[in-house]
Symmetry: C2
Subunit: 337 residues, 2 copies
Amino acid sequence: MKAVGFKTSLPINETTSFIEFETEIPQPLGRELLIRIEAVSVNPIDYKIRQNSAKETVLATPKIIGWDAAGIVEAIGSEVTLFGVGDKVYYAGDLNKQGSNAAYQVINERIVGKKPVSLSMEEAAVMPLTGVTAWEILFDRIRIHPEKDKGKTLLIIGGAGGVGSIAIQLAKELAGLTVIATASRPETIAWCEEQGADVVVNHKDLVNEVRNAGFEYVDFIVDFASTNLYWDSMVELIKPQGHIASITGSNEPVQLNLLKTKSVSFSWELMYTRSMFETDDMIEQHHILNKMSELFDAGVLKSTLNKTLVGLTADNFKEAHRLLESGKTIGKIAIKY
Amino acid sequence: MKAVGFKTSLPINETTSFIEFETEIPQPLGRELLIRIEAVSVNPIDYKIRQNSAKETVLATPKIIGWDAAGIVEAIGSEVTLFGVGDKVYYAGDLNKQGSNAAYQVINERIVGKKPVSLSMEEAAVMPLTGVTAWEILFDRIRIHPEKDKGKTLLIIGGAGGVGSIAIQLAKELAGLTVIATASRPETIAWCEEQGADVVVNHKDLVNEVRNAGFEYVDFIVDFASTNLYWDSMVELIKPQGHIASITGSNEPVQLNLLKTKSVSFSWELMYTRSMFETDDMIEQHHILNKMSELFDAGVLKSTLNKTLVGLTADNFKEAHRLLESGKTIGKIAIKY
């Protein structure tokens, strides 16, 4: 099968930062599905792994990354119960396994969902990683309760990115929260409003921006930009007994103590935790993707696809990574095979 | 009225570390109750405030601390609706207000509960601060669900102290958790077992102790000893998607990032947050104390009283603080007036 990968970590503008090559089609075992991939997406985790996983080394066989895809079940392992051959599916995948930047991929059925019927393959392919991340951070980490928490306030730092965009939709449509999103350019502000944000504020001078918008404190904060950079602002803005959650990681140690007087909670969200540790509730990602599928088909949620490149080529992955590394992407980028 | 307080922060063995004095009986306003106090308890927050609130200064009038009491409603403010004169009550109080080391105290009715009928004044007086803290950390911060989380594992670091003791009881009796508590001396180990701990382990070499007891990971950890000291052990022992909570505060910045791969949550609990910020749900402490009252009277919970001193005297507060500062107290100390 055709695949795109890399043998060494290189800046994206280098000729061989991505290369095309041929490799064997993998075989599905146990609960695995073999998927013929029709479209994929890219996420920041992709370029972080490309930049760091083969530093000062040259791999014998190229590494295939990419963890966001839509396609068709081509074959199934002997223990598969949730899907059959020919089913259209979408999924984010498992960091410990081969990625989706290839014509085929095997994937455990417990982290695969039914593709939304109303979305094209590329519209569906951009949703699993960001959708599951946003769902888990709101409903599994912060544990926002759709009825009890209705009307509470959520600040989303980084509203126009992939996770931010679908988080705005989920928070508005499923939880009935008042959503304050950060964005700073006219086109990102407009995008956040399109996703349903009630208020859009600039991330610079965040505390005053939020206060000037009429909110002294917010009940919940999700950070998709930088835990270290926004720590003091989050400490200031979070309501007593509030909950902060982030996907970014913190390079520097954190003054956790600053949250104590307010009895605040903090959660990390990593959508790979369930698959990486094969947790007992790993199948929850199957359920989340199916629930989101129904919500797309009911018109409650909409795909955050904003740019499509066509062809499983090294050039397209270079272009997609280059755009993502600029930090200015709005919504999501798809590569349709 | 008679009161015990201090004008300057002194080591507990100094003659004037606590002094007796006379002051006016306060008047209840609005939703306040005037309580004739019959018994109080001491908690670590007491000596922390005694040691630090009047350093290198001498106050004009002595400061009255103490936030754990049981007594009788003597008079009520004009807006009181929950209690009447003559009611027997118990409460922890409000850090921003005068404490309970006095014959009388005014207290907002929203943080006062009905005293358990089956407990003596001193048995009741030792329960509010630790009971509300343990209740909030388990059910409001970690949000342990009595049905859904039944059978999950909880590690309590510091099982024999005031909060640890009642936390063991609540986790066993209300949530049906498997409770692993830390203790290191024969008498503290026995005490933890009496409270209902399933397993008692030594806090030294904590990771191996817990693993040797048959638990690779635990679902929840509550820390009543030291966030900084046990951080690495907690990082190691917490289950993916687990929840850690603490009441201790962290003097040093924390390597929060170590919890990211497992998507772990961390919460601070401070039982004064609700009264300090006068949160919308401040009355929740009234409900918690009433629910605990019913559980005491039903024989589900038992008072953690372990030592009683008699008399509202400076000497008794010196003795109680001295014992508490040793860090070796088991359960709770009461001072009966």
